[in-house]
Symmetry: none
DNA sequence: TATGAATGAGCATTCATTCAT
DNA sequence: AATGAATGAATGCTCATTCAT
């Protein structure tokens, strides 16, 4: 089914173009025609791939979320499990490189939208559940490997890790000049080492 | 002589009406006429007090930020200085009651906007500076009182506290049903106790 | 009746303020509040002296027209009647000084308005009639004094003089840098000498 | 492929519709929707062809000016050069027919606007330069052909011709009933014969 | 599939006018 | 007589969506 493949690729391209435009101009200033131009298409073409603007925006959000999830989960079995490893993986998610910063900007835009859009809030929540589950099971694995204090409740620890990532990521996204990669990483490292006490 | 009007009070009322409308409908759906109605006024009246919509929005943001700052600083000298006290004060800032939740929703809306509005980003940053300074000096006072480990760098600790508050607050704002007041407080309590080790 | 005198003086002041504002900002940008400020009054006060904005504008136009008429007629009996004298008087009306330029700008604004405002067109016409009558009788006097060729029809000559003044005045008003006082005067002088042949 | 549209033709149509509306209602009362209706379009469609209202208005002015220029220059080489010919051509420009009267009304509207709009004043000036250059070179040709006194300075003569046309045109535009075509033409004829003395 | 011209509802903004004081 | 707060109609502009080609 070559057509389908092309179709999906085009959808991806357009959604990524939307991510780019939102990241640059903000979600309010992201007009359909801007996305079309960034994707080398026309507004009419976009309607072939997305029901309406909202569907396009949702696809853009999903791209960003999937990318973050993928980084969090990246090669978890290959590396030997360790606290250092978990922290390193968490740091990867921070807005420490060009693409990550853009993704965080897009993410922030959607947070603002979710305030008044229950459907979006629900979607956001489902992403958080996935994030949390991934971190929670990593904590459990570390406990089983004897590398983390058993006193810790994995779910609550995962919430703390998520909160730390979010807290630093939001701040760094809005003030990138004061928050270069190193500062973000050392700040997150300090927080996570406090939150995740080794036995 | 025309009707005596307390100009500043009217400005405050309208800005508060904007906070309310933004908190309920989101910043994108907050039309001038909605704010006018919420304030018991007309759109034309709003232009007596604000240059344009953006000025009104900024005033709304400032109200929210001032309220948070005021809570953070509330009666710092009256209470005996203690870690428990600092944590309790931090918890006060979380979206644990009706007004606080609304303020956090408004805050989130502006975070999304700041992504593409450098002026707004600058304003946000200045608020963070104030938040951080307040927390940082509280940490210092605790250290001077011998209630906090001197190993902690006050500024970095303040950043951690801010990140924890932000991380939990954002999550709770978008998913209030899963995050009742108690869960927020215990989560923040756990994080801050880990972050701020007593000697 | 001191009140009446004050009243009339205030009306004059406000109308002159309107002339000033129109001359500076154009009639489209002349807001009531601008006129009020220029007159050291408030919009509410203006409504005490003028029924509505249109009445104020009309008063402003009348001030300008009266000033021009006054200059054209100035001291006609004192000076010995001569063609040179008529030409000199015509030159006085050109936009050759600060106040005259402002009056011409106001005049031009009203010409543009008269296009779609029959009442204004009628008023403009009445001013032209006065201008023309004044010039026409001057021409007649010159003919009676034997200083102008009797072949000339005074009315038609007056129309020519008016057209020359208008043509040069309009051009100089819109391009004052290219049309300093001397150029205007020499141009008008050349035209009028051709139009008004001495015997 | 979308409907094939002659973009330039549509632009012309809309600009001409603007000329018509301005000529009928005046520039202040010319709303975008009026122009849209006159052009058989919608306000939204107009923005496809013009950045904003001002751009549309400018295009309308240009149409009028180009039409006048075209009439002044019409077939200058075909006709044998003569003073009669020049005068006849000047008369053509006067508001002596339906379309010409409308163009003059539009022209007057823009003169009023140019008072407070330096960009418009600059454009107006450039048109006058073109008018003047055309007339000036015609005068020169007449002098070279020995049909006009060499004592005349072509540029100054052109200014006089322009002033005469403007002066009569403005008056006739605002008072068309008193200034039928014949009166305009004979008045201009008289002025130009005086201004342009044959050898 | 794709184009892009056209639509039309929605909204901020302007400002003359009103009126309680 | 004067103030100036408030009104509310008017209007230019934006932009997602539609649809003829």
């Amino acid at each position: 089914m070559p057509k389908k493949i092309d179709h999906e690729a085009r959808r991806r391209d357009i959604a990524e173009a939307a991510v780019q435009v939102i990241g640059e101009q903000g979600i309010d200033n992201a007009r359909l025609i801007d996305v079309a131009r960034a994707a080398g298409a026309t507004t009419g073409a976009i309607t072939h791939y997305f029901d309406d603007k909202n569907a396009l925006l949702l696809a853009a959000l999903d791209h960003v979320a999937q990318r973050i999830l993928h980084e969090l989960h990246a090669a978890p079995t290959q590396n030997p499990i360790s606290v250092d490893n978990l922290i390193a993986r968490a740091c990867t998610v921070l807005p420490i490189h060009e693409e990550g910063m853009r993704d965080w900007r897009v993410w922030l835009c959607f947070l603002g939208r979710a305030v008044a859009d229950t459907a979006l809030a629900r979607i956001n929540k489902s992403y958080y559940v996935e994030f949390r589950d991934g971190i929670s099971s990593a904590v459990e694995r570390l406990q089983n490997a004897g590398k983390l204090d058993n006193i810790i409740e994995p779910g609550a620890a995962a919430d703390s890790v998520l909160a730390a990532i979010d807290g630093i990521g939001v701040r760094a996204t809005l003030d990138p000049e004061e928050w270069p990669a190193e500062r973000q990483k050392s700040q997150l490292d300090a927080m996570l080492r406090a939150i995740l006490p080794t036995r």
